[in-house]
Amino acid sequence: MRTVLLCLLSLLLAAAPLQGQDQPIAFEGATLHPVAGPPIANGVLVVADGTIVAIGAAGEVDIPAAAERRDVSGKVIIPGLVDTHSHIGRQQGGDRSSPLHPEVRTLDAIDVRDNSMMRARAGGITSVHIMSGSGHLLSGQTTYLKLRHGDVITDLLFCDDPTTDICGGIKMANGTNPIRQPPFPGTRAKSAALQRALFVEAEAYREEMANGTASRDLANEAMVEVLNGDRIVHFHTHTHEDILTVLRMREEFGFNVVLHHVSEAWKVADEIAAAGVPSSIILLDSPGGKLEATNIRWENGRALAERGADVAFHTDDLVTDSRLFLRMAAFGVRAGMDEDAALEALTLAGARMLGLDDQVGSLEPGKDADFVVLSGPPFSVYSLIEETWIEGQPVFDRSDPDDAKFATGGMGTYEHASGHVHGQD
């Protein structure tokens, strides 16, 4: 009998944390930036079961009687940030045997225990697009991750089953980075020809699939997903002529594409807007470092947004530091971008570009309870990221010294940090 009681007791204890997760939490008094609508002063955000259940001004939101109530007055709450282009987690893609690796998956290499993952959480990033480098015409399949705490990659994936599902996009590149010794291309035109040939082959394979004559082919299977619009192409491109090459190729083969980096977006913003193609951009503390980035401008965000083109920011971590992602959008504002557009470019716009906007990117009932608690306005240097929450769980808490060290750095914090920088691989 006693054993049975003990068993029951331990079951109850084991269930306790689960019950904690189920208990709704109401965050009261903060300025809320839903992104899906105008800011709410003295707002209330209610989350339960990992989901946002209500958001609104104080007095207009029903707070469940069982809810834990947290006073966050004076704070600012924004949606969890969506980083559309990052290299955290010691990612790897294709090797030097070929310039094209559609069959290679980054998810087979990502180390979710690497401390670069905490760097991103400390930066308020809750959804991240991890991709391989730009030293290939096509370096591999990319991975969309939710930065929940977890010990293995499956704990963090957006998709349910990596064996059968599409768990990310695919990374392509043009310009100087993939130009190398054979079998890599030596010119831009050759780069485009090799990429087009890959699409042409995939078209033939798709017909074989329809006829039932196709045999398994990992590379072509991924490329057919691209042709069918189910797998998004994330295309590294810098100069205005390379940007137009991507648009031309998309016109020819009809895939979904997001332009990445887009250093010279300001030169062809009309063409990008007319094509209806979204851009995931980066802003840098100085131009240059490579020929293609000498004309990069902080005005890129404004130039695209003003023309109605969809624009998001990305860290390209460790080209820029995940902890300073908010800073990048602030520099967009510095160069004339509208503040609301800049905040959307850190959140909802990125979610759209990954096809995840039904789930993340804004504070709306029914969406994942992913959000960031700031000590002040989002674009002030003096505002600190105090807490990062994912699906109703805190994943970074600056008041905990074990977490705070990932925000400030310090002895041994990033000693063995993954330090991918393009073009140096």
Binding site: L284, D285, S380, T413, Y414, V421
Partner: protein, 408 residues
């Protein structure tokens, strides 16, 4: 045949053109809602008068009458010109191709004879970039990466040639300890070997320096470019600028300074927060790593709050942009100080480390670093708090010349 009239018109034009540069350096009044002079408390509603390339007067608007004929500029905030205490810009260019990367010669790990002035490109685009963001003086030159990579110099970010820009042609001797050297050279392949090679070189220079003291010129050693440069460090004429990041290298640098009695300037020092007492006791200053430096490898322990800790420990320090091998090709000290200030460094200490403290560290406080009568007319205008991400730099004066009038 040109008529007399067209000739006299041409002569008039020539005279006017000759006067143009003078006009640019003529008299200017800057009205600031807040003027940080860095020599006393900030002035609310202050005025700075510039005349003939120097600061003529500074004070509250109530005390200063702007003389007739002065061009008047307005700004929310005014500071002295910013100083970058460790850069490679001008030797390292924006394109990052072989032709514009002259910051590190890899033929030998010990080359003190390499002069920065022989490589500095005053028209480099990155110099302009820094200037447009308020950096008016840079201590630049040979990069970290060799035991002795070469010399450094100090220049204004203004001037068409190195001759016009330079204000100190030999500022420091650039040295590096640690794994960074072994990644560039076959030998030294270890930290200890590197230190032994450097000590051997310093001993040779010591002997050379002593030999040069001989009364009879016939007894002196033959002139040697390498030895005479390193001898200047040993003679206390210029400091050794030692790029060190990890604890063993920091301790080695202090040990070498003690052994050979030279002045030391610590460069980078990602793990300085581990040795605050030792560094403070040495009295040597720190050119702190850019807070936003990539935390990876030897800089894996870099921290946003390193400057705050140096400040609290009473260690003299200033900001540097450092060396970047890829993108971005240079950092900007204004942005680095902002991150330090957001992470515990008091606001005015951050501003001081960009201006007067940096000038003192470079031995140029008599003419740079603060808005005081008689000092160089290097002034920066902002449309808000200089450290805020969204504040723009809207005007820059160097030697009284209005070198930038567009907000960035």
């Amino acid at each position: 045949m040109p008529t007399l009239r067209t000739l006299s018109f041409a002569a008039l034009c020539a005279v006017l053109l000759l006067l143009l540069p003078l006009r640019a350096t003529a008299q200017t009044a800057i009205e600031g809602e807040t003027v940080y002079t860095m020599a006393g408390d900030p002035i609310t509603n202050g005025v700075v008068l510039l005349s003939d390339g120097v600061i003529e007067a500074v004070g509250p608007a109530t005390d200063i009458t702007i003389p007739e004929g002065y061009t008047v500029h307005q700004a929310a905030v005014v500071t002295p010109g910013l100083i970058d205490t460790r850069s490679v810009v001008g030797l390292a260019g924006i394109y990052n191709i072989d032709d514009d990367q002259d910051q590190l010669e890899t033929s030998s790990p010990l080359q003190p004879e390499l002069r920065a002035v022989d490589a500095y490109n005053a028209q480099e685009e990155l110099v302009e970039w820094l200037r447009n963001l308020g950096v008016t003086t840079i201590h630049t030159g040979h990069a970290p990466g060799a035991l002795i990579s070469g010399q450094t110099m100090i220049a204004k970010t203004h001037g068409r040639t190195v001759n016009e820009a330079v204000i100190d042609s030999l500022a420091m001797l650039s040295m590096t300890l640690g794994p960074q050297v072994s990644s560039t050279f076959d030998t030294p392949g270890t930290r200890s070997k590197g230190v032994s090679m450097l000590r051997t070189h310093l001993l040779e220079a010591q002997a050379y320096h002593e030999g040069m003291q001989a009364e009879d010129p016939a007894d002196r050693p033959r002139r040697n470019l390498q030895m005479e440069t390193t001898a200047r460090v040993l003679a206390g004429e210029i400091p050794a600028l030692m790029a060190v990041h990890e604890v063993p290298e920091i301790m080695t640098a202090l040990r070498l300074a003690d052994e050979f009695g030279f002045d030391l300037v610590l460069d980078g020092v990602a793990e300085s927060h581990q040795l605050l007492e030792e560094i403070q006791a040495s009295g040597f200053p720190v050119l702190t790593h850019a807070p936003m430096i990539r935390p990876s490898g030897p800089t894996g322990s870099a921290a946003f709050d390193t400057p705050a800790k140096l400040h609290e420990a009473g260690i003299p320090f200033a900001f540097q942009s450092g060396f970047e091998s890829y993108v971005p090709k240079t950092r900007v000290v204004l942005f680095e100080a902002a991150v330090a200030v957001a992470n515990g460094l008091p606001f005015e200490a951050g501003l001081a480390a960009l201006t007067i403290d940096a000038a003192e560290l470079l031995g140029l406080a008599d003419r740079l670093g603060s808005l005081e009568e008689g000092k160089d007319a290097d002034v920066v205008l902002y449309n808000g708090d200089p450290f805020e991400y969204t504040t723009q730099v809207c005007g820059v004066f160097i030697n009284g010349d209005h070198v930038r009038d567009t907000c960035l």
